[in-house]
């Protein structure tokens, strides 16, 4: 427990506190009056209002489109299901620059819709909402679908035998069991869209701004650190509240449900209703998730003879000091290091949280570990720059800074994946082993490890994929001579010319393939689906 707390304190709490203090302290005195000044400004209230309503709209739209898919993945069996489940998860780990670009290529000027019907959605709120659905579809499918698959269908059948209509049986039996999972998924989607940055920046144009975008603008462009600090605090409070409610719903979900093996609940689709639903879900996935990705791939192939891919090995582009393809290697290394850190920190935290004698304080730490997901990346990035620049922790010149920032984002996923599994390990097994004379180390190795090994691998895989795609914090601290994949994509996109654009598409495609491969491996490894992501 001590290690995760120390890690969290040094690499999250301290840098964030340092940058907030820099903004709110003038001549050594705290300027708390700034808080009311800032939040009463009409512009800022406009931002707050937009942040909330677009998050609500995005969440509603995501639930509307993804809940049928959760059902289909849970209850129906069809060829290619595993592959499809991996496909719908790919967007979640893709960096926002790539997604923003894919959507621009689809709905922007000269995009596919523009060519076909003259429809342009860029700089409208529709592009933002669609991209948010694209990103968070998997959150609902995995969280709700995972549980749904394990609910015993016989309970619903029993209700129908007793005379309930299909809808009535569903409403009385399945819905109450699912509700906490739906609520948890909705809250996660709300959290991710509430703190949306890249999507809003790229697709929204200059007119739309969420809190997170405004923090970025105030810090990085206007250099009004005190306004940024106030906004950071506002976001902090909001995210804290969301996480508290989330922790509560998750705990409710852990109340006893009769769970069965997911393998036996799925059946071949029967009847027109199920076939229609399956078809509708497949069409939604094709249009909403696969199409943007396909457009991306197609654009990367525009040059004859894989020209854009071949250009990636060329160091003379001028954009970087190294060939863009070097970023692939850099990214893999960084993500590897970040995964190692996240697994150690997150694993230790999960182990501490899973103990039955864990008190309230420890459980509070659970929600705290999620905070990095909701705190502005620019705040963390700038915080790193000013807080970690002196001995004994002079890390600013060090490459480890990037993996550290990425591990902050990866660790919550490790905790969320490991925790349910660790909690499910029957304590009596450990006691029995101890009674039979096994040392604590041997108990862990012989009892815990075999049970959590898969969960550990899945957690590591997720942390790896998330680290690969992390953009917000990395862009502030990555060394210009060692860009990661997402950073390289962003740089290429900001350069003029066809070749740079094509290379950006090609690099994005590579990143996508790596993420998809990682997720496919996870699908094969994953047997237990109680994990929350």
């Amino acid at each position: 427990m001590a290690l995760p707390v120390a890690f969290f304190a040094v690499f999250f709490a301290w840098p964030v506190a340092a940058i907030v203090a820099r903004g709110l302290k003038a001549d050594g005195a705290w300027q708390f009056g700034r808080i009311t000044d800032v939040v009463t400004q009409p512009d800022i209230r406009h931002v707050l209002w937009f942040t909330i309503w677009q998050a609500l709209a995005s969440t509603a739209l995501t639930l509307l489109l993804a809940l049928p898919a959760a059902y289909v993945f849970a209850r129906l069996d069809f060829p290619g299901k595993r592959l499809l489940r991996a496909v719908v998860t790919v967007p979640f780990v893709l960096p926002t620059v790539v997604v923003g670009t894919a959507f621009l290529a689809l709905v922007g000027r000269g995009g596919l819709l523009d060519d076909l019907w003259g429809v342009r959605l860029d700089t409208t709120v529709w592009a933002i909402l669609l991209a948010h659905v694209f990103f968070n579809y998997a959150v609902v499918v995995r969280t709700v679908g995972g549980l749904w698959a394990q609910l015993d269908p016989r309970q619903e059948e029993a209700a129908r035998m007793l005379g309930a209509s299909p809808l009535g049986a569903w409403r009385k039996v399945t819905l109450p069991a699912l509700a906490p999972a739906v609520a948890a998924a909705a809250l996660m989607v709300f959290l991710f869209t509430f703190t949306s940055f890249g999507v809003v920046q790229i697709l929204g144009g200059p007119t739309f701004s969420t809190l997170e975008v405004e923090i970025y603008r105030q810090t990085s462009e206007i250099f009004d650190l005190s306004t940024a600090a106030v906004l950071t605090l506002v976001q902090f409070v909001a995210v804290g509240a969301i996480l508290a409610v989330h922790a509560w719903t998750v705990r409710r979900r852990e109340t006893a449900l009769r769970l069965v093996d997911a393998e036996i609940t799925a059946r071949r689709p029967r009847g027109a209703g199920q076939w229609t639903l399956l078809a509708a879900v497949l069409v939604t996935i094709a249009l909403l998730l696969a199409l943007p990705l396909a457009v991306l791939v197609r654009r990367s192939l525009d040059a004859p003879g894989l020209g854009y891919y071949r250009a990636l090995t060329n160091a003379d582009g001028g954009t970087f000091l190294v060939a863009p393809v070097h970023a692939v290697w850099t990214s893999l290394q960084y993500a590897g290091a970040a995964t190692a850190i996240a697994v150690v920190i997150g694993g230790l935290a999960a182990a501490a949280l899973a103990r039955r004698d864990a008190g309230r304080l420890v459980r509070g730490f659970d929600a705290l570990l999620m905070l990095p997901l909701g705190v502005s990346a620019v705040t963390v990035g700038f915080g790193f720059l000013i807080a970690l620049d002196k001995p004994p922790l002079d890390l600013r010149q060090s490459w480890i800074l990037v993996p550290l920032a990425q591990a902050l984002v990866g660790a919550p996923f490790v905790v969320r994946t490991m925790l349910p599994v660790l909690r499910a390990v029957d304590g009596r097994l450990r006691e029995a082993a101890a009674v039979l004379g096994a040392s604590p180390w041997r108990v862990w190795r012989e009892v815990d490890l075999p049970l959590v090994r898969r969960a550990l691998l899945v957690a590591a895989g997720f942390a790896f994929a998330v680290s690969l795609g992390e953009f917000g914090a990395t862009v502030f601290i990555a060394r210009p001579d060692n860009p990661t994949l997402p950073v390289a994509v962003a740089r290429l996109l900001s350069r003029p010319g066809d070749l740079n654009y094509g290379q950006a598409m090609a690099l994005s495609t590579l990143l996508m393939v790596v993420c998809a491969a990682a997720l496919l491996i996870l699908e094969r490894l994953r047997t237990d689906r109680t994990g929350e992501f």
């Binding site: 206007i222 250099f223 893999l332 960084y334 490459w399 502030f476």
Partner: protein
Amino acid sequence: MHNKTFVAVAAGLGLITLSALTGCGSTATKSSSDSKTVTLVSHDSWAVSKSVLGDFEKQSGYKVHVLKDGDAGQAVNKALLTKDNPQGDVFFGVDNTLLSRALAGGLFQPYQAKGLAKVGAAYQLDQDKHRVTPVDYGDICVNYDKAYFSEHKLTPPQSFADLAKPEYKNLLVTENAATSSPGLGFLLGSAAQFGDNGWQDYWKKLKANGVKVVDGWEQAYYQEFSGSSEGKKAGGDRPLVVSYASSPPAEVIYAKKRPSTAPTGVASGTCFRQIEFAGLLSNARNPKGAQAFIDFLVSKEFQEDMPLNMYVYPVLDGAKVPAEFTEYGPAAQHPETMAPGKITANRDQWVKSWTSLVLK
């Protein structure tokens, strides 16, 4: 089989981690405490010919390490945040719109560059203290698509006032003044032209006349503007764009087949002058090296190399400007200017008013 998978994945992860620990460790950059290295912190647009930089390294004995740190505004802000323990020795790329912020923040320490006497006095905005040295200038001007105007038998606009006229309705695209430096330059130019009180009325007229605002220069110039070669391909339909006086020569130099005249022109009465400076960072670890590098920035060799690398004009008297520049994109004769102090005093308020006036 599962055991094998586990071992394979674990081994893979381990290998990657190991290589990360060893591989990156060796490529991590040396800190500038090394007195033989000068670290330059700059924005993403920094560029110099390899041979010219090589000459400096040979003659001075310093090795130059370049840290490109985001766009101009971001690079300045990051430098300000880290000024007690700077990331390098020299900073290049603070312009007159941000100069006061950098000076007031104590970013630089004084150094009078060798050869400064031959740099035009008009560019020396910190002449008393020499905390910054002017390196280049450029003009932010409205560019027009020549083909569009000849097809429509329309005279291209010449001045700020022209842009609000009905014959130019829905033709102009500009950048967000809050996020883009040409966008800000154009706003400041209009404020210099119409005065502190008049510019808002002017922008109301521009808005009524259908000005389009996008976030960045890339989008404006390469997506919306019908005159650039990329814009043509992207289906850009705005024949007027806020860009640079050096954009027409760039169109010629980068064309697949060099045209006899530039496809675009500059509305000469719509320009705002941007001057870029370099300075010796406070608390630099290698001040000697930094000074040598600043001298190099105003040397004839660098000044003449600069235009075709960064598309700006030299500040050194007598530095030769490439023929393409004089032919296709002469610097504006009477650009609008504004004192850095005045910019600092008003910038944030103006940008705020501009945002609610034009974007909301």
